[in-house]
């Protein structure tokens, strides 16, 4: 009886209700990843790690395989809505709801250094060269406090540039992605070259070539400690870089356009990009 005395919902609220429902639907549908972006769960693993991991991993692997089948069904069922969802989240500025933070944390430490070859403007050969560690921005032998907040933006920019450069082939489908991949490290080279030139070059010198060298060092597996001797050797190498660019004067070699490799302690530097 009481419900008959309640005034009906206003027309504006009905309209707003429809918009809210559409908004929520678009967010949910827009959050569904393309099945091709998901890792395939092939079989249940049997890790020999700690008891908790050993007990849960095979069960979770089985559950993940089942979940991927459910996801496929959801993806196919919502296919007619994908166009609307993408249009709406793009138009509204909300973007695709892909919250992949730490989805697949790397199992290795990453270091990036820039090598600058310097000489007179018209020189064919470099007179001197310098190596500068540019990533990560902070020192590893100190606790990161307030400055690291700003450093985190620099690290993010370099990490995204690297990710663009190493974009997996299956994601290089659109022309924008291809461009991002080929030019991913251009901003890094350009910015650090300019900075080095302003800080370290004389008026009659210029950078003839800049290279980016990447080192990836596997981290200790769970349940194991990193070898202290190896870590100390690496820290000793890194400390030389923390004092500023390491100069080689005069530079007697000649730079090459091929992909090279160098080793310092456990850091195996690979020349990934030169310009």
């Amino acid at each position: 009886m009481r419900t008959h005395n309640v005034p009906p919902m206003s027309a504006s609220r009905w309209v707003l209700s429809v918009l809210i429902v559409c908004h929520l639907c678009a967010l949910i549908v827009g959050a569904l990843p393309d099945p091709g972006q998901l890792q395939q769960v092939t079989s249940a693993r049997q890790p020999a790690g700690n008891p908790l991991s050993a007990a849960l991993t095979p069960r979770l692997d089985t559950a993940a395989a089942a979940f991927s089948r459910i996801h496929d069904i959801c993806w196919k069922a919502t296919t007619p809505l994908h166009g609307f969802a993408n249009w709406y989240v793009g138009l509204s500025g909300l973007g695709r709801q892909r919250w992949r933070m730490f989805m697949n944390p790397p199992t290795y430490d990453e270091y990036l250094k820039a090598r600058y070859y310097v000489g007179p403007p018209d020189a064919k050969r470099a007179q001197w060269a310098a190596d500068e560690l540019i990533f990560p921005t902070h020192r590893e032998d100190q606790i990161r406090l307030f400055q690291s907040y700003r450093d985190s933006y620099t690290d993010k920019a370099i990490a995204l540039a690297l990710a663009g450069f190493f974009l997996p082939p299956e994601e290089v489908t659109e022309s924008a992605n291809q461009k991002q991949k080929s030019e991913g490290l251009v901003p890094v080279v350009r910015y650090y070259s300019n900075r080095f030139a302003v800080r370290h070059l004389l008026p009659d010198e210029r950078i003839l070539r800049t290279e980016l060298w990447l080192a990836r060092v596997p981290n200790a597996a769970p349940g194991t400690n990193a070898d202290p001797g190896v870590m100390q050797a690496r820290q000793a190498v890194l400390r030389r870089y923390y004092d500023g660019p390491i100069e080689e004067r005069p530079y007697i070699g000649s730079y090459t356009l091929t992909r090279l490799m160098e080793r310092e302690a456990d850091l195996a530097w690979v020349m990934e990009y030169g310009r």
Binding site: A31, L52, L56, Q97, K156
Partner: protein
């Protein structure tokens, strides 16, 4: 027939109460202040200005075609535009935090934040995306009616804003939905990752040299802790949307969330991400409790309710 009509009316009434009941504006004001402050700190973090905002910096290569960015850069106005963009966004977030010309400030913050990845996506992380989606929800409500310079100026002019409560709850509910979706989505992506299922993800995440705050790694003897942390994070993130449905479990979910994000903030350098996620939890607090916060210099307290909760809602 009568029963079906009554049930339909009841459903509509519940729907209307759920989305359109009026709440005090203080939750919106607190979200405005927190996201204004965090947005301000985020923009300020992207300095020196020429490093992140101008074409000579760590600046994504302009796209081909007739894009605005490519046009501006090719005309030689890239440096000016980047610096102007930085100043406008910084001032907008400051205005949002203090509630000065709040309506214009929140539009400027939202539009600027949406435009930011188009200008330079390189320094932006998921934290930026969270700010965008929360600002989108705050666009639809006047969040400068209390705890703002706008309200203070209105009082001085003798035209105080309408007495609270009279803001609709639906933008607050949209923020709740959005935050729940973030955790669910993040949890399901993690569930797809092998390292999360075998319990080693937290071990590897805390060991990463780009993020870890302390020079030394977690000793192997404490590895069980990272395994527990991995599974607890997975369960908590996927379970978050369910836990926030009921007040008891919601309290648990939020406390765990605060502890988790503080733990992440202490051990890893993730920029403003932890602060942003904790700030978003304001949307889950009872608006009437938030309305009773009394600000004092360097301290605040929550006043006792002077009227029943039902009366306050009405």
């Amino acid at each position: 027939m009568w029963m079906a009509t009554a049930a339909r009316h009841d459903l509509v009434r519940r729907w209307e109460t759920f989305w359109f009941r009026q709440v005090s504006p203080h939750s919106y004001a607190l979200l405005r202040m927190l996201f204004g402050l965090i947005g301000f700190a985020s923009v300020l973090g992207m300095t020196p200005v020429d490093q992140f905002w101008t074409p000579d910096g760590l600046f994504g290569v302009p796209a081909d075609g007739l894009g605005f960015k490519a046009q501006v850069v090719s005309l030689g106005y890239g440096t000016f535009a980047g610096r102007a963009f930085f100043v406008i966004l910084l001032v907008s977030f400051a205005a949002l935090a203090v509630g000065y010309s709040t309506g214009a400030a929140i539009v400027a913050c939202f539009v600027g934040s949406v435009f930011q990845p188009l200008w330079n996506w390189l320094p932006l992380s998921a934290a930026h995306h969270v700010v965008v989606v929360v600002l989108f929800c705050l666009l639809w409500v006047d969040c400068g009616r209390v705890w703002s310079i706008d309200a203070w100026r209105a009082r001085r002019r003798g035209t105080p804003p309408a007495p609270a409560p009279d803001d609709p709850v639906w933008p607050l509910r949209l923020i709740r939905f959005q935050v729940a979706l973030i955790y669910l989505n993040s949890g399901l992506w993690k569930f797809n990752g092998e390292l999360w299922r075998d319990g080693s993800a937290v071990h590897y995440a805390t060991a990463l040299n780009v993020f870890h705050r302390f020079p030394s790694d977690v000793p192997a003897a404490l590895d069980w802790l990272s395994t527990v942390g991995t599974y607890a994070t997975l369960i908590w993130e996927i379970g978050f949307p369910l836990m926030v449905l009921h007040p008891w479990t919601r309290r648990f979910a939020l406390i765990v969330g605060v502890l988790l994000h503080i733990g992440m903030g202490v051990t890893l350098e993730l920029g403003p991400f932890s602060a942003i996620m904790i700030a978003s939890y304001v949307a889950f607090l009872d608006p009437d409790v938030v309305a009773r916060i009394r600000w004092r210099p360097f301290a605040f307290r929550i006043a006792r309710p002077r009227e029943s909760r039902e009366a306050a809602i009405r």
